[in-house]
Symmetry: D2
Subunit: 180 residues, 4 copies
Amino acid sequence: MSVDQYKAPDWSVSQWFNTDTPISLDQLRGKVVVLHAFQMLCPGCVSHGLPQAQRLYEYFPKDDVAVIGLHTVFEHHEAMTPVSLKAFIHEYRLTFPIAVDMASDDADTPVTMSRYQMRGTPSLILIDREGILCANYFGRPQDLQIGAEVSALVHASTVRGASPVNVGSIEGCTDDGCAV
Amino acid sequence: MSVDQYKAPDWSVSQWFNTDTPISLDQLRGKVVVLHAFQMLCPGCVSHGLPQAQRLYEYFPKDDVAVIGLHTVFEHHEAMTPVSLKAFIHEYRLTFPIAVDMASDDADTPVTMSRYQMRGTPSLILIDREGILCANYFGRPQDLQIGAEVSALVHASTVRGASPVNVGSIEGCTDDGCAV
Amino acid sequence: MSVDQYKAPDWSVSQWFNTDTPISLDQLRGKVVVLHAFQMLCPGCVSHGLPQAQRLYEYFPKDDVAVIGLHTVFEHHEAMTPVSLKAFIHEYRLTFPIAVDMASDDADTPVTMSRYQMRGTPSLILIDREGILCANYFGRPQDLQIGAEVSALVHASTVRGASPVNVGSIEGCTDDGCAV
Amino acid sequence: MSVDQYKAPDWSVSQWFNTDTPISLDQLRGKVVVLHAFQMLCPGCVSHGLPQAQRLYEYFPKDDVAVIGLHTVFEHHEAMTPVSLKAFIHEYRLTFPIAVDMASDDADTPVTMSRYQMRGTPSLILIDREGILCANYFGRPQDLQIGAEVSALVHASTVRGASPVNVGSIEGCTDDGCAV
């Protein structure tokens, strides 16, 4: 069974930024959810993924679309602590809610990142109003495509041709992203 | 009555490129129509508008969305002839149907450009499946917004918040576009 | 004998823009000369070569460096006439002197382009204060390198490691340029 | 007496990366020195300053030009520790020697940053072969200018028109940089 057929699993979060109260996926039922997974030291996240997530957050009405950032640290854990992330969020003017993915007891990859079978950062996950996982992108999907797919979910709960996309073959960290 | 409430008028065309037969707006009824007006020597069209139109043409299914280019020459007429346009289309690898707007007998602004009350180039016009003019942009609307609005018309025949947008105050030709 | 060892040949010009009087290479003896060959419908020239030439013209003192544009049409001759070039120069805000390369009686490639053994457009040619051809680039040399090499010629009449560079293997017109 | 007339003061460093042994300014006498001051969470440094420094390091011969990075943390000290910097240097593929500016006992601004009267990050400082401070830029000087000025120092120990340049009026952190 492919990840696309799963009901989107809830996230497991150790800390939140840009929100006064924790946010659960259940609370967002009825809205389209854009989940953007990143690492603050992943070049492709800084140059492409996070600015795109911020644009999504600013463009779509909050009643229709919830944009959630997820800090999925799977390498250099000591270098990307919540203290550093807090300053990063401030300096890069990120205003959407951002969660710190729960560290795993027995793996480098954090809990939510594993649940969603993400291949690395940046990853962009689209969840429809009913909570079904519709797309799971790794790398650099373009604004035109993401804008169109989120809008399709807002208006019709379908995404034409959405499917996991791996932009290039990423090994380690490249300009496109960082692979697990 | 604002241009947004008009039924989209048909275009008046003197010559076509990238299509064997002329295309009328009536023929496209049932599809969302993206009409991109440009001049081949308008810097904002070359750097922004035309690449965006090409991306729209390549991303959306042809059954749902028709992308039409319109060469609306309102200045330097002698410099932007169909002969030059033909080479331009070839060198810039444009593959969507492109029409040459019919010159006016008594004005610099061509016929279709006047009918649509375009303010200059690049202009991007969105028409829904029923032929209603939904948006008339001048300048540089972003990919995220246009992707979302075209997708909204594909899935729901509505555009949330679409309205004429003038990016900056353009006089003459700037990087953003060329004003009439 | 490689082109780099040649004394730079004079150009053969049918028409000038942005100068009241024709300019010969001999007149420029004592100055470093940057000769930028382009075609107005060459995408790599429009997006990269011409803006770089304009930056060179604006940055370096006129007493030290002469920047000369050369319209070397070797394809679509009917589409890139002086009339179209004049409007192009105006719309793209080019202010340095621009020459139209003399058409050849028996070849598509114009006279000066052939003399300099240019491989296509954009080409950037560097000539030292004594009139020696020091570099002949085809494609997209970067600003850092060109700024450094022109400055070296201004201050020391030598270019470290300058040599013809072909950026990628260009066939026909690509984003990098148009090959003969 | 303006900073431009000073002999460049030595730096005070608590830790080095990308070099086995500490590097003093005296050791570099006879070479042109490019000192790039940055903070790992300064957006203008990440998008502009550091890539430019890396290009300078890769273009100019090591015998002529020494490129030195200086991590001048003056805000969010707890977020930009050497541990985080080490991962940052790895992920961003920076290969030139990078020093951590010595923290001040009584000020947020580190020691070397104060000595050089830097206004913020990114700052780019040019020192000639004799150790004279020739330019002190804050913000985003362009590649063409920096390439030309470093080349001028390599070939003639003079910089035409070099002087402190403040790109825009920067307050706090903007895309251009972070002001003290």
